[in-house]
């Protein structure tokens, strides 16, 4: 029991008393457990890094850095290289970022800069949130049966007319980079839009007032004041969207064609690290599984770097608006 120097001090009628022994024990126990759980989050990341690193260790020892620069994946000859996958991961994510970024930022402007009345804004916001809620496999299925058939005639025409441009150097035979990147763009659009809206909301209203007070039109206010002010937040949105695209698995495994080649053409099949993991793992033998774990490490490192960069920029933005930078 805690010291209660006031036991006889207060008026006789008081029913105040110190917390019971149980209250104190509960308090201490509860705080210790909560603290342990917070520690668990940190431990989890370390455990993940350690575990995946450990799984990949045999393959890392065997293949070394040649794994990253090699471009053959042949379990039969035990030759493993992921350069085409790294290329495909970065290429598909960049294409998705280009498209998803433009759409995401524009939609964020549309939603946050008084273009539509509040009720309609709720409708559009719900649409964007629902886009984020649709599972990856469903996008994959939709891509196979809607996007690819739609793209095929367009791709055929582009290839026929403009095949001298490397982007259109091949025809779309089915799965390939273009449908994969398109679906990926739709999948990262909500992330980009949400974080960008957030960045706009962080701008104090007085900034907008100041711009209008100087006699700007709405678009002059947006382009010359709001966008520059929100720029670091938008950058964070793009980087985090990029990070999300890098790790996206199922839709890509279903749409990109899983072909081990480096090709600039939008219509050629390709592969990404994540879809390599998803498509090869179920049938892989022990040696190939180890190589796949090495590929997982490469994916882990790339996404970790991009995410940390994105979060860093985001925190910088927050501090900037709090006047601490």
């Amino acid at each position: 029991m805690a010291l209660n120097p006031f036991e006889h001090a207060g008026a006789a009628s008081t029913i105040s008393g110190p917390p019971s022994e149980g209250d104190y024990l509960g308090d201490r126990l509860f705080r210790a457990v909560a603290r342990a759980c917070a520690g668990l989050i940190i431990a989890l990341l370390l455990f993940i890094l350690w575990e995946i690193g450990g799984l990949a260790l045999p393959a890392m020892a065997q293949h070394g850095l040649g794994f990253v620069s090699g471009s053959t994946w042949n379990p039969g000859t035990q030759e493993f290289g992921v350069l085409p996958e790294i290329w495909g991961t970065l290429y598909s994510s960049l294409l998705a970022l280009l498209l998803g970024g433009v759409f995401g930022v524009t939609i964020a402007i549309f939603l946050s800069q008084d273009f539509i009345e509040a009720r309609l804004a709720v409708v559009f916001r719900t649409i964007v949130e629902l886009l984020a809620a649709i599972p990856s496999v469903v996008y994959g299925l939709w891509g196979i049966f809607v996007v690819i058939p739609l793209l095929r005639p367009v791709a055929g025409w582009l290839h026929a007319q403009l095949s001298f441009i490397p982007l259109f150097a091949t025809d779309l035979s089915g799965p390939g980079m273009a449908p994969a990147a398109l679906v990926l763009a739709i999948m990262i659009l909500p992330t980009v839009a949400a974080i960008t809206v957030d960045a706009f909301r962080r701008i104090p209203y007085k900034v907008k007032e100041a711009a209008y007070g100087m006699g700007t039109t709405r678009w002059e206010a947006i382009l010359k004041v709001m966008l520059p002010t929100a720029s670091s937040g938008i950058l964070a949105a793009l980087v985090l969207g990029f990070g999300r695209a890098l790790g996206e698995t199922m839709a890509l495994a279903m749409l990109i064609g899983n072909s081990n080649q480096i090709n600039l053409s939008l219509f050629a099949p390709a592969n990404t690290l994540a879809s390599l993991l998803a498509s090869s793992f179920p049938e892989a033998g022990q040696i190939e599984v180890q190589a796949l774990m090495y590929a997982a490490v490469v994916l882990l490192l790339i996404t970790l770097l991009v995410n940390i960069a994105g979060l860093g920029i985001q925190q910088y933005t927050v501090r900037k608006f709090e006047g601490k930078v």
Partner: protein, 296 residues
């Protein structure tokens, strides 16, 4: 300094007409950009409607009693369903919720209230944010290494992998809604002589509950649609589950498997399963919204 000639400074505003000039460059640019923005916003909504139309048309056509109650058909078989996959998905999401919610809530309490500015809290917060951006397939690879290598593919492993994905979402959402509890309320509780954990149990948690539940529902919705981690942990099973320690079917893996099959029956079932999966995800999303709106 008296020789400055004020009269030479040209006026900055050259004209003085306050009327609208709709055909001036400024106004035209504005109109054009506004139009473009509308086009992009509408274009951006098309995929959602397309997905919904396909789900209703293709999936709705095949969604019948048999689809909901029968087992998956083999290659050339007609009919069949995905009852075992619905059960598998729900069981694994339940396991993931049971693991991630208590742990996540406790961690969020530490981050939001007990010691928000400590080094540990700041690190944990950053790690949680990093983990939310983590490729979900890596949660599968991790659980594969920790559980599957020793105990084989199982619903439990699938649940653990999903829990790894849910945990950071739950932590961050719960922290956010606990921070929304006005300080004047916690001050009142402290003023009445509550210990820290009494303040949390009696005031912070009940007051922040709607927000916390919303966060949990969104995490559950996200986990229900996940597939990549299950590929490494639960695999698939053509039969009903009889225990937690055997390979287990899930809707998302069924869709993935069937989408690559050359049979119309399987493709139709994949659409029907997609419709069910999206409905499950939507139910949790709508619950999240309803709970969020019931805030005081």
């Amino acid at each position: 300094m008296s020789d400055i000639d004020l009269s030479t400074s040209a006026p900055v505003l050259p004209r003085l007409s306050l009327e609208r000039r709709p055909f001036e460059l400024r106004a035209l640019t504005s109109g054009l950009l506004t139009g473009l923005t509308w086009v992009i916003a509408i274009l951006g909504s098309i995929p959602l409607f397309s997905v919904i139309i396909m789900l209703v048309a293709e999936g709705g056509a095949r969604l019948d009693f048999e689809a909901l109650t029968a087992l998956p058909p083999a290659g050339f078989e007609m009919g069949g369903g995905f009852a075992n996959a619905i059960i598998g998905t729900l069981v694994m999401v339940a396991i993931a919720t049971a693991i991630s919610v208590p742990l996540g809530l406790l961690a969020a309490i530490y981050l939001a209230i007990l010691d928000p500015y400590s080094r540990m809290a700041q690190t944990a917060r950053f790690v949680a944010k990093t983990l939310t951006g983590f490729p979900s397939i890596l949660a599968g690879v991790f659980t594969y290494g920790v559980l599957v290598i020793s105990f084989g593919y199982s619903a439990l492993a699938g649940g653990v992998a999903l829990a790894v994905l849910m945990l950071p979402t739950v932590v961050l959402a719960a922290e956010e809604s606990m921070k929304q509890v006005p300080q004047k309320m916690t001050d009142a509780a402290f003023g009445l002589g509550c210990t820290r954990s009494q303040v949390i149990w009696k005031v912070t948690l009940p007051t922040g509950l709607p927000g916390i539940l919303t966060g949990i529902m969104l995490a559950v919705a996200g986990a229900s649609g996940e597939s990549a981690p299950l590929l490494f942990t639960a695999l698939f099973n053509n039969y009903f589950m009889s225990e937690l320690m055997e390979p287990t079917a899930s809707l998302s893996i069924l869709i993935y498997n069937f989408s690559a099959m050359p049979f119309d029956n399987q493709i139709q079932l994949a659409w029907a399963a997609s419709l069910v999966l999206v409905l499950i995800v939507l139910v949790f999303n709508i619950l999240a919204r309803l709970i969020g709106q019931s805030k005081v």
